[in-house]
Symmetry: C2
Subunit: 176 residues, 2 copies
């Protein structure tokens, strides 16, 4: 069964700092024409940092799109063509007080397959050392270690809602 769609023409709607919006005219497998509104995004990298007590490093951060303060694992955007491993190391250090000696790849998730090209690369950091914080100018972040079992309860109870954080914990559990 052929499921692919063929591009007819592409129009850039907006070319911003974080996202690029395009509207593509496509031919569907049945020959019909349709339009696809797509966000182009460089992708992201996120780090699950778990200490020797099996506590998870979570950050609390205000997220404008939801007008809420969310619990998340440290994460950030990739620069164009940036290696996700390097971005994960940098974001962990920028957003928390911790520097990882090494990261292990957990997986790559597709968060919004309907309308965005974003891929988030997930890593596990185990051997973390404290360093100084170095926040971005417009980031205001609180970080804390929370026991893994409590984190799982927080997912179950809807306190943690961030998809990359839930997926990272899921990969960690599946690899146990």
């Amino acid at each position: 069964m052929n499921m692919e769609e063929k591009l007819v023409n592409s129009k850039t709607i907006y070319d911003g700092k974080v996202i690029k919006v395009i509207k593509d005219k496509v031919i569907c497998p049945n020959g019909n024409e349709s339009y696809r509104e797509i966000i182009k995004h460089n992708g992201g990298a996120a780090v699950l940092c778990i200490n020797e007590l099996e506590e998870v490093l979570l950050i609390k951060q205000y997220r404008y799109a939801y007008n809420e303060i969310l619990y998340e694992i440290p994460a950030g955007k990739l620069e164009k063509d940036e290696d996700p491993y390097n971005a994960a190391l940098r974001e962990l250090e920028e957003e928390t007080a911790f520097k990882a000696k090494e990261l292990i790849k957990l997986g790559s998730i597709y968060p919004t397959c309907g309308y965005s090209s974003e891929i988030i690369h997930l890593f596990l950091a185990k051997d973390c050392k404290i360093t100084k914080t170095n926040f971005d100018d417009d980031e205001f972040i609180i970080s804390e270690f929370i026991p893994l079992n409590k984190v799982k309860d927080m997912i179950k109870n809807g306190i943690i809602k961030d998809a990359k954080t839930i997926c990272a914990i899921s990969y960690y559990e599946l690899n146990k």
Copy 2:
């Protein structure tokens, strides 16, 4: 610690079929001005359908944003102000041959907290009956039941990459 950002002004960049793009000027907690590029999205609903053999109903669908065929649980967009429960029932029936008698809420995830307001509501369907398929005009979907243990391996091995699917399995496991 005050982490909220205050809106100064909002500009609509694009008002499309699926997404609306806005660029907001905000005041950060430290008094600095910044811009937020945000996608406004009605949200989605997705259904984890597991049969009596503990097999998971997965669909294979071409996703234009990634130019890939992805494994996912059945899901779809909400109409404006639509009840996620009703949307979940509808999408399950439209995308697969199955109709659920009842759905149980698993959780609501925030897939892209950096730049989109989308929330995906996840439900569990247990008592499903086959009905006729009723695909959208431009959707081409294959559905199949896959044993839960194999689905977990597919997540671990990177064959399943869709975040809502990984999160739904995670909620199911946490509620066991």
